[in-house]
């Protein structure tokens, strides 16, 4: 039985942030994940906003970790070469009756330690975003945007480079506390033991806690549906613009969100559902999102909608209550429970990781590794490099000249690097999240067949072994006819 000091359950942004934090210390750490890859849960299905911290009650864990997390983001993203921009946000009041809410958010933000907050008038609003509606706004310059899956993947790769093991397609189904060791069993029958368990299982952290016999509150999945818009509209939005939240809403209201890639998002909606696997988008919500999109962006056309998707919030507040609960982060005798890590979980992740490391230090003495290097460098996208660098790279590897994904301009060399960076089984989603091929306006119509061919000829992955998101998810039926020449 493999034995670890720390076993992290869940390879979302929370699990991988903790893994990277721990990778700096002399510890034997592993991350175990039921899906085929990192970031297949909530962490790739959100708005990607690095919140400032104005929305959370003073003294709450959400306030603490959002503000401290926000402060850490700039350095973290530059260390890991992850796209991040501090673009700022306007929380807009449309009528006088909403002004007190703005004031309240301002005072709350100041109390939470959010830097540089200002209440601004319509004239200043127009300077920041020409054409914006509304009478008054709270301006939070520290609000930013980040590539959520780029971040999660980079955290995992960095942790892995510093000795953290990653175990994929293994679902934890049993946890036994044997005095000073936890024994874990997976659905496939693997056994692992660890001194400390970190429950970072997102939507499922309640079930994991129950496996360990811990009486945790229950998680209510709450769905947010989005549209992704064509990059053509990138320049329409200079910064984030949110309406002032209403009294009982448990989301922040449908709005437009810039992404680091230049695609604007419309969403998210806010609907409690039953099933934690149900990532469907629905006729009703999509119609509403389209309507609001056309209102907010008059130049929108129907071909600008390139994709819709949904994410699930792991809520602790039941549907009849709504609103937000606070994060729960507790140490139950070396079983560290993280539950209800909904928004601003992404923002909070670097700060939460520090707190978890401090909790672990209560059980195991921690010694810093001498050779730990905080940085993970990565080549920029080929087509965005200066021409002399392009010439150099193309001379080293001719595959840089062959464009596979025409919409995002991704070359064969970059696709192959993405394939080789995947730690678990190769999947199309894994490739997509690592190099953006198939993520553009044609959504893989052009490049998916080409990627099928590249996997086959360059990496010996036959058509039957090509999967979309895991081994239950075959891309194709198979070859039409036998390709063996010997028949």
């Amino acid at each position: 039985m493999e034995q670890y000091d720390v076993l992290i359950i869940g390879a979302g942004v929370i699990g991988t942030s903790i893994a990277r934090e721990l990778s700096a210390y002399d510890l034997k750490t592993a991350v175990i994940e039921k899906e085929a890859d990192v970031c297949f849960g909530i962490s790739s299905r959100n708005s990607g906003v690095v919140h400032s911290g104005i929305h959370y009650a003073p003294g709450s864990l959400r306030a603490l970790h959002a503000v401290r997390g926000n402060e850490l983001f700039e350095e973290l993203c530059s260390q890991l070469t992850v796209p991040y921009e501090r673009i700022g946000k306007l929380t807009v009041a449309f009528e006088e009756s909403q002004f007190p809410t703005l004031e309240k958010l301002y005072t709350q933000g100041v109390e939470n330690g959010v830097p540089d907050l200002q209440i601004i008038d319509a004239k200043r609003m127009q300077e920041l975003q020409p054409g914006v509606g509304g009478a008054r706004a709270l301006y939070s310059p520290s609000t930013g945007i980040v590539g959520p899956y780029e971040l999660t993947i980079a955290l995992a790769e960095h942790a892995h480079a510093h000795g953290v093991d990653f175990i994929f397609t293994e679902e934890v189904v049993s946890i036994k506390n044997r005095s000073d060791l936890y024994e874990i069993q997976t659905k496939k029958g693997s056994q692992i033991s660890a001194k400390i368990i970190i429950d970072a299982a997102g939507l499922y952290s309640d079930s994991i806690a129950h496996l360990a016999g811990i009486d945790s509150p229950r998680i209510y999945p709450c769905r947010g549906e989005y549209y992704v818009l064509d990059k053509r509209l990138e320049d329409e939005l200079q910064l984030l613009i949110y309406p002032v939240p209403g009294n009982h809403s448990s989301g922040l209201g449908i709005h437009l969100t810039n992404t680091v890639e230049g695609n604007i998002l419309i969403g998210p909606s806010n609907d409690y559902i039953e099933n934690k696997e149900d990532l469907s988008t629905t006729v009703q919500i999509l119609a509403r999102l389209r309507e609001e999109g056309h209102e907010l962006l008059p130049s929108l056309t129907s071909s600008d909608f390139i994709r819709s998707f949904a994410g699930l919030r792991p809520k602790l507040t039941p549907p009849e209550v709504g609103g937000f609960g606070d994060f729960i982060i507790e140490d139950h005798d070396r079983f560290i429970l993280l539950i209800g890590i909904e928004s601003p979980g992404l923002t909070a992740s670097p700060s939460i990781a520090i707190s978890i490391r401090e909790m672990i230090a209560n059980h195991i003495p921690l010694a810093l590794k001498k050779d730990w290097d905080p940085s993970l460098t990565r080549e920029e996208r080929f087509l965005e490099l200066p021409e002399d660098r392009q010439e150099q790279l193309i001379a080293e590897d001719p595959d840089y000249g062959s464009v596979v994904c025409r919409c995002e301009g991704i070359t064969k060399a970059e696709v192959l690097q993405a394939v080789d960076r995947i730690m678990g089984p190769v999947t199309y989603i894994g490739i997509k999240l690592r190099c953006r091929a198939m993520m553009g306006r044609c959504q893989g119509g052009f490049c998916a067949p080409r990627i099928a061919e590249i996997l086959k000829t360059e990496r010996d992955i036959t058509i039957d072994e090509q999967f979309y998101k895991g081994i239950e998810s075959p891309m194709f039926e198979g070859l039409l006819r036998e390709e063996s020449p010997h028949e």
Partner: protein, 416 residues
């Protein structure tokens, strides 16, 4: 390696439009032409269209797609018109009297100077996102053209049992093709009250194989977490909402989308070329010149065509007019008048014309119409009138006109 090239006319795209444009330019006396294509072979989308029916107008024969494409590719070779394949144009910059085009290919970079550029990049298929396909996003959802490429060029079958959403021509062709390869095509669904594809394809691809076509039917949800396991469809009520009482679940492992094509104008947009919101192609003059002088457009990048013979014809014209631009025979002082798509006309290409010219108008009606009369007028003067016993949006109508010398305001096209 960074290769520098100088040409008179650069053509982007080596599909039927690009090759015909090159031949048109050559016939008009131009020798310095280069065609570039990002695919590994010339021919564009026709390479995957192994069914017949191409060339009925131009050659009076039913050729397969690759055969049709090859005829013009061969002519280009014979006339020494070079075609660079596996080469991707990523940037066009407009200079004072020329364009600089940046492209990359396996092992090399290109920097090309051209006096005129012909856009012939074709189009892409609309996606699940573009039609707001509700439900989950498992493996097994393909656009019809992608499935066609996999099947016809890569020996790969996408699924065994499928529902085709949308009744565009590629979807209809794929319904037949999948059936012939032993897959079960459960149904084709269409939002409109009339099919999106050509009549002959409805007969030859659906009726002949007993594949049901559900008109005025929408999608309630796609089902399946890992791979598609089914789809729920429902008829539309008269207010265009889904009639959930009559919804039905169809078990299938694959969904093919055939919901329209979008001209691929990202390069055009980077030159700030004006785009028609209806055709989603560049706004052009009767000479097929875009709003950026020296840049011409033809084929599916300009407007989605249903018959390739008409693409070739249009492209030849673009090739010829590009030559007259390059040779300086172009008076850019000519006044432009717009063409207005009026009653029951969805769009009309070109969108602007010059007086005393001749040109071919391409247009589509907004709905199926029996005994249609299309008239082109200026002020109160009738320029041309044409009668059709029946016409529908899936059929492009072409009308040749001579534009008079004295125009009052815009030209109007109406149908009754």
């Amino acid at each position: 390696m960074n290769e520098k090239i100088n040409v008179s006319i650069l053509i982007i795209g080596a599909g039927p439009a690009g090759t015909a444009a090159a031949l048109g330019a050559k016939e008009a006396g131009e020798d310095s032409i280069l065609i570039i294509d990002r695919d590994t072979r010339a021919g564009g989308i026709l390479n995957q269209c192994i069914h017949d029916g191409f060339g009925l107008m131009r050659y009076k024969r039913a050729l397969s797609g690759p055969e049709y494409a090859q005829l013009d590719i061969d002519s280009c070779h014979k006339k020494n018109i070079p075609i660079l394949t596996d080469t991707y144009v990523h940037t066009i910059i407009k200079g004072d009297d020329h364009f600089t085009i940046k492209a990359i290919a396996t092992g090399r970079l290109y920097s090309i100077k051209a006096k005129a550029v012909i856009l012939a990049m074709g189009c892409r298929e609309r996606t699940a996102g573009a039609i707001s396909l509700p439900g989950s996003r498992p493996a097994g959802i393909y656009t019809a053209g992608t499935a066609q490429r996999l099947l016809n060029m890569q020996n790969t079958l996408v699924g065994r049992s499928c529902v085709i959403v949308g009744s565009g021509d590629i979807g209809l062709i794929m319904a037949r093709r999948m059936t012939l390869e032993g897959a079960k095509v459960q149904a084709v669904t269409e939002l409109q009250s009339y099919p999106g594809g050509l009549d002959r394809n409805i007969r030859q691809c659906l009726d002949d194989f007993d594949i049901p076509l559900y008109l005025e039917t929408g999608i309630v949800s796609v089902h399946g977490n890992d791979r598609v396991c089914g789809i729920t469809i429902a008829p539309l009520r008269s207010d265009r909402t889904l009639d959930m009482k009559n919804s039905q679940y169809i078990t299938c492992d694959t969904i093919l989308l055939s919901v329209g094509l979008i001209p691929e104008n990202e390069l055009s947009r980077s030159l700030d070329i004006a785009i028609d919101p209806i055709t989603q192609g560049p706004i052009v003059t009767g000479d097929l010149m875009t709003s950026c002088p020296g840049v011409f457009a033809c084929g599916n990048v300009l407007q989605v065509h249903d018959i390739v013979d008409l693409v070739s014809e249009e492209a030849k014209r673009a090739g010829r007019t590009a030559v007259s631009f390059v040779s300086g025979a172009y008076a850019d002082t000519k006044e432009l008048f717009s063409i207005y798509a009026g009653e029951k006309i969805r769009y009309c290409v070109p969108q602007v014309i010059t007086p005393s010219s001749t040109t071919t108008l391409s247009l589509r009606v907004t709905e199926p119409i029996t005994d249609a009369t299309i008239s082109i007028t200026n002020d109160a003067t009738l320029i041309k009138k044409r009668r059709y016993s029946f016409t529908q949006p899936s059929e492009m109508i072409q009308i040749e006109i001579s534009v008079p010398e004295n125009l009052v305001g815009s030209l109007e096209v109406n149908c009754e």
